[in-house]
């Protein structure tokens, strides 16, 4: 197999899309709340990759700063989200997402 002698930025973008889709798929099929939450992190990471790739393509570091902000927001989200999961677990003794469906009505 002949390897190309350079990687275009679009490959990075496609990798980002693939990772993002995997995150969504995980979100759809997994049942453990924590895993679902991790799939969200996977999606955020995928988006970050495309930010950085565009930053390279445009030769401006603004994209990297967006990634920075995404990370901080992800940290905040993880802290609050995990606290919520802890509380949910304490009340229901379960981490199954199907068990937490009292949002209806």
């Amino acid at each position: 197999m002949m390897l190309p002698n350079a990687v275009p930025v679009s490959w990075y973008l496609i990798l980002s899309a693939i990772l993002f889709s995997m995150g969504v798929a995980g979100f759809l099929i997994r049942r453990n709340i924590i895993t679902v939450f991790m799939c969200i992190e996977l999606m955020l990471n995928a988006v970050n990759l495309s930010f950085v790739a565009f930053s390279y393509e445009l030769k401006k570091i603004d994209g990297q700063l967006f990634t920075f902000f995404v990370m901080v927001v992800a940290a905040a989200e993880a802290a609050v989200g995990l606290a919520i999961i802890l509380t949910v677990f304490r009340h229901r003794m379960s981490l199954e997402i199907d068990d937490v469906s009292s949002l209806k009505n």
Binding site: A6, Y12, L15, M22, L28, N32, I34, E57, V72
Partner: protein, 172 residues
């Protein structure tokens, strides 16, 4: 002599494959700890990819913040709850029949878009873009993006307080 493979290409392919494999592992592993460690793998390979894209500061921050803090928190919570493996899933026809095909369509269209709209993107060479060091990032962060930066710090503060309030055991 064996022709030296282009390190940029080789690196990308290896890392991308590793990232995709880890990503699959995240969504397919039965146990949450395994998923979490796979996610750390994704993050690590992304960090190296950032390095190749010239975002060295971001790569370090990715490791420190994502792998070192956020995921440790995940692992910590998983171990704390020690909930064991996931039960075999109930048949989830809706997600499988509607969600996955839509997702594939989504991926296809996006990839098509990328290849069609951005046909001549520049090729990535390690070291070609050197603006990702701490100094330029910091300079931009504390000038043009000062307001978002401060707002984010406020957000983190709120998140800390929120997490404490939520996770605190109620004293009855």
């Amino acid at each position: 002599m064996i022709p030296m493979p282009n390190l940029d290409v080789l690196g990308f392919l290896v890392l991308a494959t590793f990232a995709v494999l880890c990503g699959l592992s995240v969504i397919l592993q039965k146990h949450a700890v395994a998923s979490a460690l796979s996610l750390v793998g994704v993050m690590g390979s992304l960090a190296v990819l950032y390095l190749m894209l010239g975002a060295e500061f971001l790569a370090a921050v990715q490791m420190i913040v994502y792998a070192g803090a956020i995921m440790v928190l995940f692992v910590f919570v998983i171990m704390l709850l020690n909930s064991g493996s996931e039960r075999p899933a109930k048949a989830r026809y809706f997600a499988y029949l509607v969600g996955i095909p839509s997702l594939l369509a989504f991926l296809g269209v996006i990839s098509f878009f990328i290849l069609k709209e951005l046909p001549n993107t520049s090729s990535v060479q390690f070291g070609a873009f050197t603006q990702g060091g701490p100094a330029p990032v910091g300079r931009l962060l504390f000038t043009q993006y000062l307001l978002p930066f401060e707002v984010t710090s406020l957000l983190v503060l709120i998140a800390i307080i929120g997490a404490m309030v939520l996770a605190k055991k109620e004293i009855d």
